[in-house]
């Protein structure tokens, strides 16, 4: 419902300009400019409401969340919900936070290493079958990971990796999509720099580590952030592989609240808030890199 109006706004705002002199580039009237800001602000508000609801519910009592008279603001802020969450023996929430952190960091480092090398090889090193291999990588983008989760699970369990960190981390390192992004990025990397390096006597390996990587730190940082986020938010694989509570990630812990018989709304929302918090902070602090990274992903058709 809201979407149609959101989409139409900029066009309407543009239509209002029709009557103006086209040569006056800054000739947007105060009215249409105000309209633009109004529409943007309304959309922004809609996008922020879910965040607000998490915080509101996380700091309320169950009675207030499920009460008859729904209120925008909790009457009595319950900071005690934080300690109650971490003291709750049924779900090892602190352990799951730690697991997610370890998995997220190692997953990110490993993916960057493996996928950036492969992306560079595919983009830059001449090899007669490189195109075929690239298509073999592209094909994996189309196969839903979840389609193969049963045989993947069997494979990993035959390696003895169920409920282990390697089981959570290793199978996820070989992302066709990340490799694809690196390839697209390296295709756009100025060739002259590498050629100069090679004239100076560096091989591909040397040129890569001494020239290409140091000049691509922005892109690496952006991909690192995106990879960390997707690792932190992954659900299906950690659910399948995390048989013991000790190996739960924060998403699995979160979903376990949904399947519990007793529904503690305030704990559920406090857990949700805490699980989102690190990523929101990452987003706010690394905004510029992230946006650049997504924008630079080389998706230009």
């Amino acid at each position: 419902m809201t979407t149609t109006t959101q989409v139409r706004e900029p066009v309407e705002a543009g239509a209002a300009r029709k009557t103006r002199d086209p040569r006056r580039k800054r000739g947007r009237s105060v009215f249409s400019s105000a309209g633009l800001y109004f529409a943007t602000a309304v959309c922004a508000l809609l996008f922020l409401i879910p965040f607000y609801l998490i915080v509101r519910n996380a700091l309320s009592t169950d009675a207030e969340i499920t009460g008859e008279n729904w209120k925008w603001f909790p009457t009595d802020i319950q900071w005690g919900n934080v300690t109650e969450l971490f003291d709750d023996p049924t779900v090892p929430f602190a352990q799951s936070l730690w697991n997610s952190t370890v998995v997220g960091v190692l997953h990110t480092i490993g993916t960057l290493l493996v996928c950036s090398l492969a992306g560079y090889g595919l983009a830059r090193i001449p090899y007669k079958h490189a195109n075929k291999i690239f298509y073999a990588v592209l094909v994996t983008l189309m196969v839903p990971a979840a389609v193969t989760f049963v045989p993947s699970f069997v494979l990993v369990s035959s390696l003895g990796w169920v409920s282990s960190m390697q089981g959570l981390i290793v199978p996820g390192l070989f992302s066709g999509f990340t490799c694809f992004l690196f390839r697209q990025y390296f295709l756009g990397f100025p060739k002259e720099l590498e050629e100069a390096a090679r004239v100076d006597g560096l091989g591909y390996w040397g040129a890569y580590w001494r020239i290409v990587v140091p000049n691509s730190l922005n892109f690496f940082a952006a991909i690192a952030t995106i990879t960390f986020i997707s690792g932190w938010n992954a659900f299906l694989w950690p659910l399948v592989i995390g048989q013991d509570q000790e190996a739960w990630t924060v998403q699995v812990a979160l979903s376990s609240y949904m399947t519990n018989q007793t529904v503690n709304f305030h704990l559920i929302f406090m857990a949700t808030a805490i699980s989102i918090l690190p990523l929101v902070l990452v987003f706010l602090f690394l905004q510029r890199w992230l946006v650049q990274g997504v924008a630079q992903t080389g998706i230009k058709g």
């Binding site: 209002a16 090398l117 090889g121 193969t148 049963v150 045989p151 494979l155 591909y204 929101v280 998706i299």
Partner: protein
Amino acid sequence: MSTTTTRDATRPAPAKVSKTKPRRGMGGSTFNFWLFTGPFLIGLVIFVYIPIGWSAWLSFFEARYTVTPDKFIGFDNYKLMLTNGDFTKSLVTFTVFAAIIVPVTWALSLGLALMVHRLRFMKAFFRSVFFLPTACSFVAASLIWKMSIFSGVRFGMMNTVLSWFGVENIAWLANPNPPWYWLVIVTVRLWLQAGFYMILFLAALQNIPPELYEAAAIDGAKPGWQTFRYITLPQLRATSTAVILLLLVAAYQAFDEFFNLLAKTTWGRPPLVELYYTALGDDQDYGAGSAGAVILTLLICTVTLLQGRFMGFGRGEETK
């Protein structure tokens, strides 16, 4: 890896030369290719291709409660999946979902990008706000949607707001008639993904040379709809193509929000959820589940390749 070493071993000359000559490694570009891509490709084979192959192999066997079956049954699993109705119903569910989510996300993310692009102040602020939901997981978002916004009882936000206008409580997820659950499913995904695609469109908008607009203005094109239709949209074509492709692939992989929002219902099951219940439900029928996975994979590949042909995705790279 084995290919790497044998290839290298058969041609020891360039490797030795490289030690003495400054242009080391230049002769063995094949070796270097495998050095760079080898670790990734080995992992890809072990953790992606072998499971796919295993799935394909399982699909021809009677494989209930076991993944090492011995009874070969040919195409019976495929027949079962295509005739039992639930799986084909899930394909219909997916088609409906894709038919809604792809164009709506495309339009919303483009609309947001156009809005943010035209802002003169607080551009970064609004960009952040629309991008922020990308930080959320589907699990977390499903929790909020199911237990706070679209809760079927009165304490849900939507029903509370609607009650101000005298609307009766709506059971958003518990009743397929009318299918309100689509509103819940579509909005949760829109909220999560629109900001990401908005960034792609924003980048593309910034890359449109301003001379184009000046030339259009001289030619008498009116700013607004005409400029948008004849300059902006065509200039965004490549990005639009990529965005639609990514959206389609993402829609095919829909699992988390359907699973979390509609866990105990029988409606609104996309293929992956259906397969999850076939393979890991009470029956644990890995054979039938794998047959479904193979059908689904073939379908996705066909659609994606067809779309690629029609819309020319990937053409730009080959000319490079």
